[in-house]
């Protein structure tokens, strides 16, 4: 019986670049920006890193395949470097590689770095790209917002919610994240917005308007992980450990079998249940101090609250409107602005979520600091509601 990852790996350094439309920077510059912060934070040097994982998602417009871009960019000393890709959850996959390597005893100190340079396409939104020889011949010609918008139609039908009521709850999700992002100097979008702005915005994919969609950004984030013993040896006392790390990948049931109703993420329900078990969490709604979820679209965040068992099924609309996930609420969510406002450089996002939790759990989050957090959760999703990958990571203070 596997013993799980709980408390076997410590995070001893993190860095995150400024996210946004980084017209000034190549992917290489973004990697170095995040990495230098991370090294400083850890007190380690490049020669201490024994293995590295690089996350990038959209290779067509990016740094190229393989581990070479990271090894080149940081001049890593001929160590193992692996590129991972799992859609928008790629960043969490880089972390998983590094954490598992340390837990396995394959190395003592490992690096996970995610980077994406999206603003070299010449247009807004995610790049349009081929889906493969066969898929492109039969898949609907969907965009990211269009595929996630499907959730709203199904959620409304299932719970008997009027379109305007759901739209208002979705708007609250975005308004909350803009309020949070405004307090974050590294965030892409830093302006608070009003309900009117959200409701009047141009439609992107019904019912998602412009402000229901997250930023498309450039950025990089990274983490250095090691064993708790080494962390202690480095003089760290209140360090952060990984409590759970789960990934669930759709196998085609949602897309092809009539048992799924289209209103939720099957993967998120499975991954979060496994993660809570691995972390020893029995009542996530009261035990999770704060969450960084994959709010690529407002409707995604809303249904995700139920999928993570933080809201009862059908109860997310009420929780959202009650402010339960606001910065002052019972379970602050996207305290750093989330994908919505911190931004979404795909390969970096999973690690960016972790970065905020890392700061918060150490009391280093400045004006965004939440009082005395114990457990933080990241939820990093890739794909579309009907076929996706979902990563759930729980981190906490080592003594928790």
């Amino acid at each position: 019986m596997a013993s799980g990852i709980r408390d076997r790996v410590a995070i001893v350094g993190m860095g995150c670049s400024k996210f946004g439309e980084r017209w000034d920077a190549d992917a290489d510059d973004l990697m170095v920006e995040a990495y230098t912060e991370c090294l400083r934070d850890s007190g380690l040097e490049t020669k201490d890193i024994e293995a590295a994982w690089l996350a990038t998602a959209i290779e067509e417009i990016h740094v190229g395949k393989g581990g070479i871009p990271l090894a080149f960019g940081l001049r890593l000393p001929y160590i193992p470097v692996t590129r991972v890709e799992n859609f928008c959850a790629s960043g969490s996959e880089a972390l998983r590689g590094a954490v598992y390597a340390v837990a396995a005893g394959a190395c003592d100190i490992a690096l996970a770095l995610g980077v994406e340079k999206l603003k070299d396409t010449g247009y807004g939104g995610l790049p349009q790209r081929s889906r493969g020889a066969l898929n492109s011949m039969w898949w609907a010609n969907y965009s990211a917002p269009g595929s996630f918008a499907q959730l709203a139609a199904a959620y409304r039908a299932k719970h008997g919610i009027a379109p305007e009521d759901l739209k208002r709850a979705m708007a609250h999700v975005s308004i909350k994240s803009h309020d949070n992002g405004a307090k974050n100097p590294k965030a892409h979008l830093r302006k608070p917005i009003t309900l009117d702005t959200v409701l009047q915005a141009p439609m992107v994919a019904e019912p998602l308007g412009l402000f229901d969609c997250c930023g498309v950004s450039d950025g990089a984030a990274c983490a250095i992980v090691t064993t708790p013993e080494i962390a202690r040896g480095m003089g760290r006392k209140d360090f952060i450990t990984v409590k759970a790390m789960q990934l669930s990948v759709s196998n085609g049931v949602e897309a092809g079998h009539n048992s799924w109703d289209g209103s939720y993420f099957k993967t998120a329900r499975i991954a979060s249940s496994r993660a809570y078990k691995e972390a020893g969490i029995t009542d996530p709604r009261s035990q999770i101090s704060l969450a960084e979820v994959h709010d690529c679209f407002s409707i995604t965040e809303l249904v995700t609250m139920e999928d993570l068992h933080l809201s009862p099924e059908g109860g997310a609309v009420t929780d959202v409107l009650d402010g339960f996930f606001d910065s002052t609420g019972g379970l602050p969510c996207q305290i750093d602005g989330g994908l919505k406002c911190f931004g979404h450089p795909i390969g970096a996002s999973g690690l960016r979520m972790l970065y905020e939790l890392y700061l918060q759990l150490q009391g280093r989050a400045g004006p965004r600091q939440v009082a005395d957090p114990v457990f933080g959760l990241t939820h990093n999703l890739g794909g579309a509601p009907h076929q996706n990958v979902c990563s759930v990571v729980v981190v906490g203070r080592h003594d928790a």
Binding site: T121, G122, Y123, G125, Q128, R129, S130, A133, L134, S136, M137, W138, W139, A140, N141, Y142, S143, P145, G146, S147, A149, Q150, L151, A152, A153, A154, R156, A157, P202, M203, V204, A205, E206, P207, L208, G252, V253, A255, G256, H257, N258, S259, D261, G262, A384, H386
Partner: protein, 488 residues
Amino acid sequence: MIGITAYGGYIPRLRLSRRAVVETNGWAAPGLRSQGKGERSMCNWDEDSVTMAVEAARDALGGSRGRIGALHLASTSLPFADRQNAGIVVEALDLGPEIETLDVTSSQRAGTSGLVAALKALPAGGGSTLFVASENRRSKAAGGQELAFGDGAAALLLGTEGVVAELRASHSTAVDFVDHYRGQTREFDYVWEERWIRDEGYMKLVPSAVRPALEAAGLAPADIDHFILPNPGGRVGRSMAKALGIPEPAVRDTLHATCGDTGAAHALVMLVDALERATPGQWILVAGFGQGCDALVFRTTEALAAALADAPRPLGIRGHLARGRTETNYAKFLAFNGLVERDKGMRAELDNQTALTQLYRRRRMLTGLVGGRCTACGTCQFPKTNVCVNPDCGAFHTQEDHRFADSAARILTWSADHLTYSPDPPAHYGMVEFAEGGRFLANFTDVEPGSVAVGMPMRMMFRVKDYDDNRGFRRYFWKATPAPTGEA
């Protein structure tokens, strides 16, 4: 007895308001202002002669198929110059591969000449030929053809059993009368003077084929109950009837007001329209003009009454004409037909190269919408895969073919997407579920913005999925469209 055993038709849902056309073009072509009445059918951006042919054929076949030994496709607007277009229709109808196929083209007479040939070639020992005519002609902006033409298709099942309209005689002539032509590398027709076409063309060449046909059938012109003579603009029929001695009430409407002239398909479109209104024991004369003339004489049988009583009835021409949606935006017609260079945005630059190897391996899935049914647990699924999708089954290599093209479907989820590239934004798509099980995220077509809802009944249609303008290819797949229940 040889003749027509079943019939069907297809007219695209979109109807371009001629008034919208002449209001835009009146500055350049004031002479066309008087022709701004009624509507012409127009293909949606994802329709062509092949997709319309598939629909017309489905309409004619209904649920039953019998043994179809041949499929012939007549058109002068076939999407492929060298790739058998009839073969695509066969794959889409899942009729292959034991079938004879043929494209008939190069003349407005392709529909009638092909029909004569197909009827004469019918195997004596039974078996049917599915004869389909379909047309989607291009025309220049601000010209008369744009107003006169329409898009549409008709399908006739030909055979010896259950004949509803028996072929009693036919006569064909070939005269190289060049009223218009379209050179091999040209997109558009070049047309000679209208009055000459009428006086020297129609008025002389049609009678020279019709008279011998009537004689062979042992008929006097006055015996004709339905006289079908396609002519763009629809002004020749009555004078022709008069010249021939055919009673004026027999002259069939050319459907100019509601559809326009569907070219090589139009004689068959009008014939299907006539059959939908005919009674047993009537005489139908079909004339097809174009570098000569074909004349066919049919007599309807008692089986026609039975066919008319069948349920479900094909929508036919009448049913499809009743389902029209008026398009008053002429710019859309221009954009759909590539007559203006629309700024499609960078998202339209996606390379749509088709892997022909992959298309071949999966042709039944992609062209025929054939999925799988697990023989272990009975679950229907699309696509057909090696491992059953039912989470309680998961059996390997148990799926037999199951075709979804005619399955009832409903919308589970949907969105109208303004971001993704579509020639007709917003792009509608969503998860559709089939009644017997199975689902996939499908593109929608022919939907009206604001009308889509969860639970809406849908029907699958064969359409163009993507155009590959770099290589001159187009790929087809099936899309969901609102089911016609209760509308016709």
